[in-house]
């Protein structure tokens, strides 16, 4: 059965995940349609990062199903490399390759994995640098860039693989307050371009602005979900209300 884009791009069903005896996901389900932006929020330790790390098979799951464009991720014969070509990921700690310049960081994966032509890749990389507003930093090493700049290089690095879905794992959590916005702006523009995004975030105002759908997780389950307005103004679950009360 071929996947068509009227079906969910990412379909998560009853996912269970344990680290040893600790069960961090206890039956989580959600669908993400093409072009949708989904924000996952919740207290720390609620399993939200684990959930999106399962989508590109950085973590395996014990039970349930994750379909990415119709392809089952919970499958021992899964070609992880093929999956990861479609799914980009940005991390809290940027994780740029410190021995490569900004431009080289962006060019590496298309060159080595997709084996694209070097001239084309460099052109693409320069376009992406421009897109995340880092012109002039092409030849800087990550150590010479601020956190916000590094994170934007990391976003560009993921985009260079031309993914269908982007995963953002608390990408502003390690940043100085004044550089948070430059990263959020980059993500917002990406969302406006129609990129399918799954974000784990603590930036509530941002979530409200860009998300099509918000999920609130607590202790491994989805407690509440809905459109941003319903979620922030008319939350019904007591845990959600308590969390929002603390954070807003």
């Amino acid at each position: 059965m071929a996947w068509t884009d009227d079906q969910p791009m990412v379909s998560i069903k009853d996912v269970h995940k344990s680290f040893g005896a600790l069960e961090v996901l206890k039956g989580v389900s959600m669908d993400v349609m093409k072009g949708e932006v989904v924000c996952i929020i919740g207290p720390s330790g609620s399993g939200k990062s684990t959930l999106i790390r399962c989508v590109n098979a950085l973590n395996d799951i014990q039970k349930g199903s994750i379909l990415v464009e119709g392809q089952e991720v919970n499958d021992p014969d899964l070609d992880k490399l093929e999956l990861r070509k479609k799914v980009g990921m940005v991390f809290q700690q940027y994780n740029l390759f410190p021995h490569k310049t900004a431009l080289e960081n962006i060019m590496m994966a298309p060159l080595l994995v997709l084996k694209d032509d070097k001239v084309e890749v460099e052109k693409l990389a320069r376009q992406l640098i421009k897109k995340v507003r880092l012109e002039g930093k092409e030849n800087n090493y990550p150590g010479e860039l601020s956190g916000g700049q590094q994170q934007r290089v990391a976003i560009a690095r993921s985009l260079a693989m031309n993914p269908d879905v982007m995963l953002f794992d608390e990408v502003t959590a390690a940043l100085d307050p004044e550089t948070v916005n430059e990263v959020l702006t980059a993500i917002k523009e990406l969302a406006q371009d129609g990129m399918t995004c799954m974000l784990v975030t603590h930036e509530m105002a941002f979530a409200r602005e860009v998300a099509d759908h918000i999920y609130f997780t607590d202790r491994g389950v989805i407690v509440e979900h809905g459109s941003p307005d319903t979620f922030f103004d008319n939350a019904t679950d007591p845990r959600t209300i308590e969390f929002l009360g603390q954070i807003l």
């Binding site: 590109n56 950085l58 990861r84 700690q93 994780n95 740029l96 080595l112």
Partner: protein, 281 residues
């Protein structure tokens, strides 16, 4: 609660580490001269007791210096080849230690631990007595001289130590580097060779140089198994001079000095590299 805001801000853990006092004492060339002088003065009692009709100990030493230097060059050759061989084998073994295949991983771990916890001299004896004096491949006979066997024996502990340096270097990188590269659909081999190892090499260099220094000093063990390196030659020279006791100190001091001149710069360089790389990351 009673603390003022300003006092809270200077928790000891938040303060920058106190600068260590500068390393004031560093060996310079003139320190070597002083050491040599002390060695000479220390040997004066033996010198005074000597028969004036015999050649002075410096004349004797000068006569043997070319041979001893040749012996020392041999030590250096053994150390370099053992290092090269041990590094290649050790790098393979170190990569084996992080293999995804549990059998490869476990056997690499066992081999590493076995040779790392074995006395170098015992390994040397094993190599000397277990290896044949020649090997026949097809119609060809390849002789295995003693120094080659010694080189092989010494490269075994080097291999095990390099294996640990490689494994430790790889483990010292944050896991985020693996995850980022894997998320970009890099294969495991690509992650290792393109992302992880290029970053590790810098970190592995100081312990690797340290190991080389230790290996160089251990090459004199080969004298016990009869390889004609500097210690063996020194013993033979002393015997040729009729076992004069006043010659012992100058001859062995000379050997010490040779090793010191060779190894001390390596040690200084290692310290410099360690300091340089300590700041990064």
């Amino acid at each position: 609660m009673t603390m003022k805001q300003s006092e809270k801000n200077i928790l000891p853990v938040m303060m920058p580490p106190r600068a260590r006092p500068a390393d004031k004492f560093r060996l310079k060339a003139w320190h070597g001269v002083v050491l040599a002088f002390i060695a000479v003065v220390a040997s004066i009692p033996a010198f005074a007791a000597a028969d004036p009709t015999r050649a002075s100990m410096f004349e004797v030493l000068a006569r043997w210096v070319p041979l001893l230097l040749k012996g020392f060059v041999f030590n250096v050759i053994i150390s370099m080849s053992a290092m090269a061989f041990g590094t290649m084998a050790g790098a393979a073994l170190g990569l084996g230690q992080i293999s995804l295949n549990p059998w490869v991983r476990k056997s690499a771990w066992f081999t590493t631990q076995f040779f790392r916890n074995a006395p170098w001299l015992v390994l040397l004896f094993f190599a000397m007595f277990l290896l044949p004096f020649e090997i026949k491949i097809g119609g060809m006979t390849i002789p295995l001289p003693d120094w080659l066997k010694a080189m092989f024996g010494l490269s075994l502990p080097v291999m095990a130590n390099v294996s640990e340096i490689v494994r430790g270097g790889i483990a010292s990188l944050p896991s985020g580097q693996w995850e980022a590269a894997e998320s970009l659909a890099f294969s495991r081999t690509q992650v290792l060779w393109r992302i992880i190892l290029p970053q590790c090499v810098k970190r592995m260099l100081p312990p690797w140089m340290n190991l080389y220094s230790i290996l160089t000093m251990a090459t004199v063990l080969a004298s016990i198994v009869g390889v004609s390196e500097v210690m063996t030659l020194t013993g033979q020279a002393l015997a040729a001079e009729g076992g004069r006791s006043d010659l012992l100190i100058p001859f062995y001091s000379f050997v010490l000095l040779l090793f010191f001149i060779y190894c001390y710069p390596i040690a200084r360089w290692t310290v410099r590299l360690e300091k340089k790389f300590a700041v990064i990351n």
